[in-house]
Structures are given as structure tokens and as C-alpha cells.
Assembly symmetry: C2
Homo-oligomer: 495 residues x 2
Amino acid sequence: MGAPKPIDHLHAVILAGGSGSRFWPLSRELGPKQLLSVFGGVSLITRAVQRVTDFCDLGSLHVVTNERLLDELRNHLKSQAGLKDLEIDYLAEPVPRNTAPAIALTAAHLLRYDPHAVMIVLPSDHLLEDGGVWSDTVTVAGSLAAEGYLVTIGLKPAGPETAYGYIRAGEAIEGERVGEAQGRLAAAFTEKPDLETARLFLERGDYLWNSGMLVARADVVLEQLEAAGRAAKTEESAHGERIVETARWLASLPKTEWTADEPRERFAGLPSVPFDKAALEVSERVAVVPADMEWSDVGSLLSLEKLAPPDERGNVRVGRVVDVDSRDVVAYSQDRLIATLGLDDVLVVDTPDATLVAKKDRAQDVRLVVEALKAVNAPEVVAARSSLRPWGSWTLLMKADDFQIKSIDVLPGHRLSLQSHQHRSEHWIVIEGVARVQRNDDAIELSANESIYLPAGAVHRLENAGDVPLKVIEVAVGEYIGEDDIVRYQDEYGR
Amino acid sequence: MGAPKPIDHLHAVILAGGSGSRFWPLSRELGPKQLLSVFGGVSLITRAVQRVTDFCDLGSLHVVTNERLLDELRNHLKSQAGLKDLEIDYLAEPVPRNTAPAIALTAAHLLRYDPHAVMIVLPSDHLLEDGGVWSDTVTVAGSLAAEGYLVTIGLKPAGPETAYGYIRAGEAIEGERVGEAQGRLAAAFTEKPDLETARLFLERGDYLWNSGMLVARADVVLEQLEAAGRAAKTEESAHGERIVETARWLASLPKTEWTADEPRERFAGLPSVPFDKAALEVSERVAVVPADMEWSDVGSLLSLEKLAPPDERGNVRVGRVVDVDSRDVVAYSQDRLIATLGLDDVLVVDTPDATLVAKKDRAQDVRLVVEALKAVNAPEVVAARSSLRPWGSWTLLMKADDFQIKSIDVLPGHRLSLQSHQHRSEHWIVIEGVARVQRNDDAIELSANESIYLPAGAVHRLENAGDVPLKVIEVAVGEYIGEDDIVRYQDEYGR
């Protein structure tokens, strides 16, 4: 077991564009799965970032997402202890086009300023056991990548899972070996086998779960995509040259221009294809490093059943859930009370503003619910009910046409941006802590049970002036209450 | 069809002590089924009261309930248009002891000031089609009651219901006939028959649903209870004399003393037995007036399925409910979003603070859920989330240890009581309308988007000073937030 050590030219690339519609109502378009802290206290993306910081130099952490999520992700990661001072390079894909175009674009971008760049590409919304095995695995993968391989990380299967892809590990590759970790040639890829096949894979012992993690030199990524395109063995790998060409062209522009009309149009013209299909399955230079770690893609709400031990009737209950006579129910509540009675194999997921009740074997079809909700313009698909900020967090308690109520928590030593609103006035009531409020040219200090009025148009700022958390209830009143009615004059966090 | 006309000495007695635990989470201990306006806009008890006001003289309306519900009921009925000026005699049973003791106590109470009193006893939590048939039925029942009969109202069965009691109608009684309504002797009572028996009853045509409604002279009620006790044909009818004796003794005290220690103890010593068992099933002087009206005892949450037509897969959805691929689901939401996916025969009932998910065939066992919740002291069993008041209504939006947020709606021309709180301060923010606030010796007028602070100890009052509804958000802050921290100095509504 080796301690993590930096790998030369290693760039971590966190793919964080997923909408997480399979996790609704826990996830929302503006609060996707990677931002959920359901599993183990911190968000999945926070753990993904923590997983790679030891291997990378400062300035070589890249988060790939979409335009819409950019602010939310930035605020979220800046709010995480240990990450807030990290310099992160945010990349917004012009439109979502699956992983092959996204990885190609990132590779081309990296090559602009580091011709020797090695990428470690990680999903932002998976669960993975960290520790020594992970460290050894990455070290070996890094050295194979330097030699020109596209290196995948293959996990020792914990069961005959039919929802995952499998990689067959072929002959061992001579080279660096750290602890148990040693590279092998990737001999075959199989997507979602049936149960019988999955059992066979398990028995054989040389099949590994495809974790979707990749380590490779940026130049090799582009070269192998192009080679796959030229060979065009499959429909899905036939567009490699066009993908690389478009990626290189976009990367030649400042990244702030990637979402302009022409780049967006050209990127949108690419096929929506995963990197596995576009390159890994057809390339000859693919390695796999087998690793024995706990891993899950947290692919459906049924993952919630790992959060608590089942009761004597097989029910898993998380939060304020009371049951009478149910069997094999999974019920998850954030803060409200859920009662279940006489149910079998039902999944209940409750959030402050929406509840999902589903037959368990339909958990993978939650996206159909999200589609149905989109069809009726349900705001619960889009908006998150609470949101982390570099200065703390806010939670929406109530929203009506002409007013809304929020709870605002500000960390000691922090303050919100200096801002004003055109259409809404705000009433702030301090519940706990001490606030310093700037209102136009005045500075006012408020303790618990004191309040202040901020008329529409007033330039104002809220600051925690004490050394304990500050809690404020905000009642906003006005003919228009939208979050976009804000002018920011100055911000500590460069937003 | 006759128009309603007053019946001499008729006293309406509305039984409103039910806890409605079969309707949780819609009903709560302090917001039982009779107060729900789920069915048709106004509450079940409001409709029960409206049903009898035409037949009764002023001052002859009595509502029997328990001590705990008294204030809530009074506030509720005073808030109902058309009922607020009605003088209602509220009677609090010392302890719940089912209908025989409650009806006996009321009869003894009525006889103290009206020796010729005729009672029409109505449940407060049933659904009943009003109109001409009802009017004719009551008129005939009233005249039979005057002749000394215990008169039940029997409804033409709409199906072979196994959850109801049945009355077999015997030979016709000579006497008043109004429209289709004519009295018959009640030949037999059958509780909850099996399905085969219920079908047989339906075929025979002479069996009627027992609605639990009773019309009888107060003196006959006591006399027949005593006679049943003397004859003691069944265990459940053997205590009539003791019930009547205790009832007469309690009625000799001012009703405000019924809940004192000795009356409570004596009343608690009575058997908990329904009037049907204690008198009707054994008395020889029982009549039934058959009536063809829509009626339901709204006995379980499955009654909600009458609120909307089923969709093409048999799902009944009320409120913001989106479904994918479910069958025969009943889903009811008050304001939150509910999504159902792939369910069969499931009942979902959602309220702002609690959700019930049950297999439909277990709907009658919701009381088990309530018991389980009581065992863990869940506040959601007791507290109503919103409450009607003579001046308007309030809704609890959020409750924490050291603060709570309420929405308060005040009707034009109304004002709350003059009050103060020892432990909490209040911040009021006007959202809509114009408020006049008394704070100690000051009177302050506030428009929308204006606020005021009421420190703990301040004597204050909120009044709607405009001619449109007034909406105020109240943020209460303090180390103790309980509703019982209130001193009332003056109240428009005699509370």
C-alpha cells in the first residue's frame, strides 16, 4: 500500500453535467445527484474532488458541467470545508453530448497549455471506497497512461449485477506494480449482461465492473478517438475524427465563448455517444487495473436501502418513518412524517415539496415521472429547495405569487454579496446570532429577535458579525419574486 | 315534498366528540373529521348544523363534544357564514363513553328546561344529501317521536355494504305521511353483515342502512333506556337505569361543572355503549322512516375516491398528483406534489406535515397507524396545521424550537382578541390588505409590505382595517413558543 503522491502532469477531470433525473425528487435540475449529501454527509462531487486532490498539482483540477449548473456547482464546492481555497477550472459543455465529446473537448483544452497532460476522468456522482487500494490503483493507472494506454479501472464484482457494464481482464502488462495493483490488457467489454451471463462472469473471476473511470494521456485520448473513427468498426465509433476536430476548434477559443452560437451549434452537431463506445471498445491500447474496492454508481433511488439496516419485515426506514405491517418497503424522509401501512415492495421518497411513491421494481423508471412532470411544467423538477453557498446556505420555506419566506444561515466570518432587487422588498428577522446589515449608506447591527426592512432598490448586504452561525428569516414581498431579480455590486467569492 | 317547517319543541343535538383517527393524516385530535371541508367546501359539521336549523327554534341547537375540542369547535362554527350568529349550546362530555351515555346526558339536560323536548340526534361527520326528501323524513319522524316512538332514519341501501348496520322495516305505522315519507315499525337490527347476507338484504328490499340518526322525545329516551335496563335482555342494554340516573345527576349541575372531578368520575364509571345497543335493539317502541337519499358515514380514507372520476387505469387523483403506470390508486394531495409510479391498489394521502401511504384494503386500519404514532409521541397526531377562527384563519408554516412562522388571514371587519404573550415576541409583516395594530397604548396602521414588532409582554391586537382580506406573516421568536402562552384581555367572540 503506497501513500498518495502527485503524478506528473496529472489533471483531474470531474464529469459533473449529469441531470440525475433518476434520483428525483431528491435530485432536481438545479440540484442534481452529484450535489446530494444523502450518502455519508458530504456530497458525491465533494468526495470525488477529495479523491484526486492528493494526486494533482494545484491548478490541475477541472470540472466539466453545463452552463446552467455552473453557478450552483461553483457555490457548492466553495462551501465545502477543505475545498474552498482550491482553484478549479470550470468547463461548460455547450450542450450535453455524452462523454466522448466531453472528454475530447477537455483533452483538447488541456493540450493547449500542457502537451504532456495525463487525465484522470471521474464521474461526480458515484460512491467509491477511498483508501490505500485506490491510491495504488491510481498510481499504476497513471504509469500505464504515461506509456500510452487508455486505462480503465475495473472493480471486483460484488455480485451478478445486471445494470453494470463488465470488462474482461486479459494478460498482465509488464510494468509498475504497487501493492496488489497491476495493469492488464482489457480483452472485452460487455454492457448490462443478463443474469445468467452475469453469474458466469462472476464464476470465471476475470470479469470486472466498468466503473467509468479513465486514466489516459490527453494526446492519446484524441489520437485513439481519431483512429477509432478511421477504422470505423462500429457505428458508435465512426465519428471520432469529427469529434476530435470539433473539440480542437472549440478549445482554440476562450472557454467563455464555448457557449456562443457557433460553437454551440457545432458541438450540438456531434453524435451523443459515450467514450466507451467511441474509443475503448474498439481501441487496441486499452488497459484495465483491477481493484477490490466498494463501489456503486448510485444508479437509482433503490440505493437508499443501503442507508439503514432492514427491520424484521425487510423494511428500510430512513428519517421520520412509522410503519404498520409493511414488507420490503424502502421509505426515506428528509424531515416530514411518513406513515406506511400494509405495503409490499414499495419505495417512498419524501422531500419538503414533493413525494414519490413507486413500486420498487420500477425505481429505474423515475425518469418517466420526471418527463411527465416536465410536460406539465412542474417547478419541482427544476428548483432545489435549499442550496449551499460559499457563505452558508438558504432554504425556501414557502413561495406564493407575491411573497416568499426563506431561512438564511450565514457562517461566522462570512457575508453575502452587496446586492439590490428591483421588484421585491425584504424583511429580515434575526433568529440566532448577530448580523451586521449594510443598507445603502447605513451599517446596522442586529441581535436575535431584531428585524430590519430593506425596500426594493436598496443596496444591501448581510454579514455574520458574531462567532456563531447566524440564522435569519427573510420575508420577501413584491409583485415579482424570481431569483433572477438581483444586481450584485461586490462579492467576496468572485461570483 | 314539503318545505321545512319548525317542529314544536324540537332540539337538534349534534354529536361532535369523534376523534376521527380513521381519517389521519387529514384529521387530527384537534382537527377531527367533522371539521374537514374535504367533501364539498364546507365542513361536515357545518352541513350537519345547516341541515337542522330550519326545523329548530333559536336556542335549541346543541353540540355535544369533549372538553378538549370545545374551543376548536366553537371557533370553527363561529367562522362559518350563516352560522356565526347562531346561539349554540355546547355540552362537554366529562369523558367519551359512546352514544348511550351522551344521548342520555343530553336528554336529561334538555328536560331541565323543556319537559316536552323532542331531540333530533345527528352525527357531525357524515355526508347526507339534503333537500325535499330530508325535509319530509324529518317531519314524519318528528310526528312519530311526539307519539312516543324512538324514531330512526333508515336509508335505502345503494349496495350490499358490509361495513354498515341494517334495520329491517316492519309494518307501516298509521299516522302522518309527507311525500314518500311514512313511518314503519323497526323489526330487526343487524350490524355489519357478511357479503352474502348483505346481498340478501338488498334483494329483499325491506332492509335499510342504519344512519345513526335518531328522533325522539327526551323523556322517552330516558324511559326506554331505563326499561331496557330493567328487562336486561342483553349485556349491552343492562345498564340503562344506571346511565339514566347518572345522566340526571349530572344534568342537575351547571354544565360547566360536568368536567369537575366527581361528575367525571361518575360518568367514567358508565359502560361505553352505543345507544343502538342500549335501547334501540331491545325496545318495542322503535320506528324507522325509510328515506331514499345519498348518505355515507365517510368511514375511511377510501371515501376520498368519490372526489374525482377515475382515470382510464382506475386511479383517482385529487390535487397535484402525477401518475405513471399505476392502477386503482387513490392519491389525495392538499398542496404538495405527489408522483406515483407503477403502483397497484395503493392509497396516498398527503398533508403539509405528514403523508400516509397504505394498501387500499388496509384503509380501515389507519387507527393502527395513529396508535403507533401516539406511542412515539408524534405531534402530527394532535395538532392541526391550520385552524378556522371567528375572525378568519391561521396556518402554521414552520415550527422550530425557538421560532415559528404562521400565516394569519383576517376577514374584513374582524379583529383578533386583545392579548399578550409572556415568552415570545412577534414580528408581523403585512402581505395583503390593511392592518390596524394596537400595541400597548399605540394604534398603528400598516399596509402591504409594512411590518411591526410586538415584544414579549406587549398587549396587542390585530385588526383588518380595510374591506378586503388581510394577510399577515407572523414570525414568533422566543424560548417558548407554545399556543398556551397567551393572556386574553378582550375578545369580540366571547372566548
